[in-house]
């Protein structure tokens, strides 16, 4: 409608705050990563005199080309071995515990990785997968697709979306009482849509719970570098938490997911990610491999981006200063934008919003007037759905209603990314405030 008749709408552009897609908005890719990608795509550039490319970019591209032959060749179905080695080194350095490339599967992003694992776990409709509510809908969609049972546990908004072992126990007991065989517990940390980072204490409780109940832990850690309160709430991987608990946990089953789409990398379109298996039965890993091999291999360019993300330029490398500056600039801008948006949201009548500890999202709760709830009901819509649709129609701002993520009954939310370009944040906050006031007055 905007392109066909631009004057027919009360706004001039759509602000896509509905999806964590940084490069759709103003975020620029990391130069070193793209230089290596271009050199791998078109190796004649390696032999050219162009001074666009620093020696470390040329070296890395040559190293990848030596390993893969061509970006046009299928790789090993589990992923290029030297990239899996880079991932293992990254994990070892991050956690201080050994990682084995044989336990790492490169994938076309975290979403297909989660689907592969859930497909393997769900062997009959009564297999239950515990998922946080609110949750990223990948989980409910995949569990439905593979015909399993979603077992919801609720995050506590009053405790900054923390989780409690009592709630985990309640959720599990309820599912078991209904004949559901609970095989796995999914944790998204930092949270999506909720943006919280789990405390170490919480994480230990989760691990103890899974061990006691003999449940596989699935740790979705794709936002591990989107950490905005590093002093109070640093990121800890579940791998590190499990390994820190000593020999009693030597058989603890954990699968951890990561992606090139998030963080400061934001290479969503490339489709790259990995999962690491900790103490997963070799026969189960053989099944993962078999499923992976049906699609032959993950995109080679996505795999190389995983290598670049986990093994970036280091101090002393020619590209390091530029890399460091680009990463820091994006990070600082995310921090500023998250604060600006949280403040703007908390000023709105009936809106309350936890500050983002991590990820790319704010998930404010909105207390809606009774008349708005009734108007939505009359339209056959959820009230937050109606709110978001009116917001889009009046301002061009696109956010996702909380009902898309599931939420505690009788509460209403929306999820907004804080990825809008920084120079548009002021205008964005103002149009949100204007809309909100009008909406509240309309239904007061």
């Amino acid at each position: 409608q905007l392109s066909v008749s631009p004057n027919s709408l009360p706004f001039t552009r759509i602000t896509n705050c509905n999806i964590g897609n940084p490069q759709q908005l103003a975020q620029r890719p990391i130069t070193f990563f793209r230089q290596v990608a271009a050199l791998v795509d078109y190796p004649d550039l390696l032999r050219s005199e162009s001074n666009l490319f620093k020696p470390d970019a040329r070296e890395r591209a040559a190293k990848y080309l030596a390993a893969i032959g061509s970006a046009g060749a299928y790789s090993h179905s589990q992923g290029v071995p030297i990239v899996r080695r880079e991932v293992a080194d990254f994990i070892e350095k991050r956690d201080g515990f050994a990682a084995d490339p044989e336990n790492i599967f490169l994938t076309a992003g975290a979403s297909p990785a989660v689907q592969l694992v859930l497909n393997s776990l769900i062997s009959h409709p009564k297999v239950g997968i515990m998922i946080p509510i609110p949750q990223y809908p990948l989980y409910t969609a995949s569990i439905a697709l593979f015909n399993g049972t979603a077992v919801p546990y609720y995050l506590d908004e009053a405790k900054n979306w923390g989780l409690s072992k009592e709630e985990l126990a309640r959720s599990l007991a309820k599912a078991r009482s209904e004949g559901v065989e609970v095989r796995a517990l999914c944790i998204i940390n930092p949270g999506n849509p909720t943006g919280q980072c789990l405390s170490l204490e919480n994480m230990n409780e989760v691990v103890e719970f899974c061990k006691k109940e003999n449940i596989v832990l699935l740790a979705d850690e794709v936002y591990q570098t989107n950490i905005y309160k590093p002093a109070e709430r640093p990121f800890h991987s579940f791998k590190k938490v499990v390994k820190s608990k000593g020999p009693e946990y030597d058989n603890f089953e954990l699968i951890s997911f990561h992606s090139v789409s998030k963080g400061m990398v934001g290479e969503c379109g490339r489709r790259g990610g990995y999962f690491e298996c900790t103490n997963i039965d070799p026969e189960v890993m053989a099944q993962f491999y078999k499923i992976a091999s049906i699609s032959l291999c993950p995109p080679v360019h996505g795999q190389l981006m995983v290598g670049l993300m986990t093994n970036p330029p280091k101090e002393g490398d020619a590209s390091y200063p530029e890399y460091r500056k680009e990463m820091d600039d994006i990070y600082q801008s995310l921090v500023r934008r998250s604060n600006t948006l949280a403040k703007a949201l908390n000023k709105l009548e009936g809106v309350s919003c936890n500050e983002a500890e991590g990820a790319m999202y704010l998930f404010p709760t909105i207390t809606l007037p009774r008349k708005a709830v009734e108007a939505a009901k009359a339209l056959g819509k959820q009230p937050d759905d109606m709110y978001c649709m009116e917001l889009l129609n009046e301002t061009g701002v696109c956010v996702v209603p909380g009902s898309g993520f599931w939420q505690k009954e009788g509460t209403w939310h929306f999820r907004s990314t804080f990825l809008a370009p920084e120079n548009q944040m002021g205008e964005f906050a103002e149009s949100l405030a204007r809309f909100h006031e009008k909406f509240m007055n309309k239904y007061r």
Copy 2:
């Protein structure tokens, strides 16, 4: 073993004839395609003076960048709209019938495309999918994964792996008598592993059969440009055959698959492909879209390669002469290699091989001595499995036993690509001949 102790084996390299992976061997990528990919990866190159890039490569990259913003952004889950337009134009030009971008889904290669469709079709274990025997194992694997029933129909080796309507009818009747609800018929044309091209007559019979029996036709046409006897056996798309049959077939349900991995393009590692829906219920397409969106989008670089494959340089474009020469050289070399290998195979005792009409494979039948069959049985192996393993151990040549594709009981085959570098084909044929003679003498 080769890299650790190179002198411990009777050969110095592995010849991978087990998989259609041209760029793993000597095939070079098409320059224009890779130039555009590099320019999209690293747009600073567009602003550089480098004379490596011709104007049409720069223009195409700029056009794609304007449409996608960045290769690092998620695209539409069904695929970048302008690329779907390029695909539709390609299909229209190929067939002489209209194609609609809204009916085209871009995918991460044909394998995930086939899986997406089968996942949607198989809603209970008694859903049957008719598949050719021998078949590319994507089909049996996916049907098993989604817990459906494979309904085999046999290709006739004596008629150059053609198919007969009597055999289709027999297969369907048998399945129905067992309570199987047959929903789809898969055809691989040109064939894999068999390399045949269907005659127009055969194709018409298939279409009439599906219409009469109310079965969706799934046309795997990834080898549509690997056509080696274009005068006798040109490629016809099933879309064209259906559309040529007139208004009676206006509701005929067809899904056609294509890929950037095969043909002269051979960009397997990029993971790009598409499927086109013809007369598929919009509600079914909505389900396809929903499943596609769980993984957000296919790799953007794979999508752009689909655009490049379907909309290559044209006569008059700056890159056309180079493009034309590269495509022709690869094609002519494939023709020569397929003939060389077929001749070499047909010289072997007890081996008989149809010439390749299409695809990248030969699928010779081998009549094995009784003692070899017994020796395999004693090892708990299929005889062709034992043959292929001995071939690998003695010569480094890796081919796939026919039992991996399923085959008529009591017959033995193997599948070999003819992708080995042309300058190695002589040596390859000789070592195959030496091995075969030794094997036959051993078990005579």
